[in-house]
Symmetry: none
Subunit: 298 residues, 2 copies
Amino acid sequence: MAKIVECVPNFSEGRDLEKIEKIVEPLRGKEGVKLLNYEADKDYNRLVVTVIGEPGAVKNAVIQSIGVATNLIDMNKHRGQHSRMGATDVVPFIPIKGMSMEEAIQLSRETAKEVWEKYNIPVFLYEKSATKPERENLATIRKGQFEGMSEKLKDPNWKPDFGESKIHPTAGVTAIGARMPLIAYNINLDTTNIEIANKIAKCIRHSSGGLRFVKAGPVEIPEKGIVQVTMNLTDYTKTAMYRAFEMVKMEAKRYGVNVLGSEIVGLVPMEALADTAAYYLGLENFNMDKILESGLME
Amino acid sequence: MAKIVECVPNFSEGRDLEKIEKIVEPLRGKEGVKLLNYEADKDYNRLVVTVIGEPGAVKNAVIQSIGVATNLIDMNKHRGQHSRMGATDVVPFIPIKGMSMEEAIQLSRETAKEVWEKYNIPVFLYEKSATKPERENLATIRKGQFEGMSEKLKDPNWKPDFGESKIHPTAGVTAIGARMPLIAYNINLDTTNIEIANKIAKCIRHSSGGLRFVKAGPVEIPEKGIVQVTMNLTDYTKTAMYRAFEMVKMEAKRYGVNVLGSEIVGLVPMEALADTAAYYLGLENFNMDKILESGLME
């Protein structure tokens, strides 16, 4: 069986369409690489790209995109609502088919090495590729953001896994690693009060007593007059999507705030949505083999 | 993008396992054709087969199966509880991916033409392929069944779309057409009162004032001490699954009866479940391209 890896690089440019197209360009029309999706968010000022394909081909194409982003983005001028530390902020590799997590880790290490050698960007290995427990969590690595990274890297505990203890002057620092499929999931609240989103995020996230595979934080979306609880669901097979949604709804009631809806950023595995539908419809004897398309992918 | 069609031929043999295997045989191990499922019903004396794959390959394989069924089944000797008019009773083609309904109709016409030319079986085009409104509904075409078909075909209104006005002496008549994927969906009610299921079925089905693409009726499940509203959702893109579910729940309240859950019989298209999840989560900007596996099937 062919090995298939997914890669979801996040770049710090969500507004300039010309630059966005140039960053995505190396991922188009390459043998063994399929560009599945790219989404630019103006508020976040961030671009999330999803490619899938043969591991070596995906690695090479993504490294080219990182090169373009390094040339086009100056982090000293970057403003946006999403935490970030580099022009290429984070590059996760996700084993999808015929590939072990170990192989995905190896691929992430090779990528990290090349990014340092080619572009002089220091790289932290994160998630399953982390070399120390405190580097598993991206938020811990990114704490201080671009503006604080120069200082942070002076701390011997924060010596990058590849490269020197000095940020790239315009492209900052990049995190690269292997991980499980992740769902980036945001829930919209009918309020402008960021403190409410913050309190709900605290209830729901693992780090402060919530659900085991949820990371969460508050975000303001002033143009829409709302706030969001922004989440990463890091293992939807154990912490279901609908459970996170219902729990946010439950907590929102406490503040008399309505949940307006939600959004998936990037891609979502079919199983996560099927499981959600099965929950709300109370489906008995349901499994993924009941989905017509399951038969197509064997 | 590769085109994918589903085909669900129904054959009038549900008892003789040797014959059943011979009918299914041409659908096994063919390039571009995947046999998903086949189910023989003894009471119905009927075989329902589900295959999926590349349109041309599926068409050719199904035509071979029809040839085998034509040789093995003598309708003059056929007895069973399900209405039927031919050895190959009905052959629906369902566009699944990268394929328009128009293309599925074209495929059904090509199949019908070959079935007539190769096997001398007269064919009616039905559902979306119908050439007259009264030929859309299979039940209307099949009225009179095998035993009444010789007489029925003499009526100029019932001249077959392909072939002469004379049945095949042992294989009868076949209906071939394109249709939307159909979802067999049952909702369980916490009561033994069949009259309540009947009243709810009447509210929800198209024929008595309900939702446009719902057929519904009541069923007793005495072993479980419940009744069901049993439904066919004939176009889930227009009458969504969750809408049927919520409407049954709403009507059940009137009788103080709880909805216990629901079940899907057979297969369900991914889109129907994704749409259901999107409704309950209030997903904004959702479309099928957001599903990771969509990219794998192109």
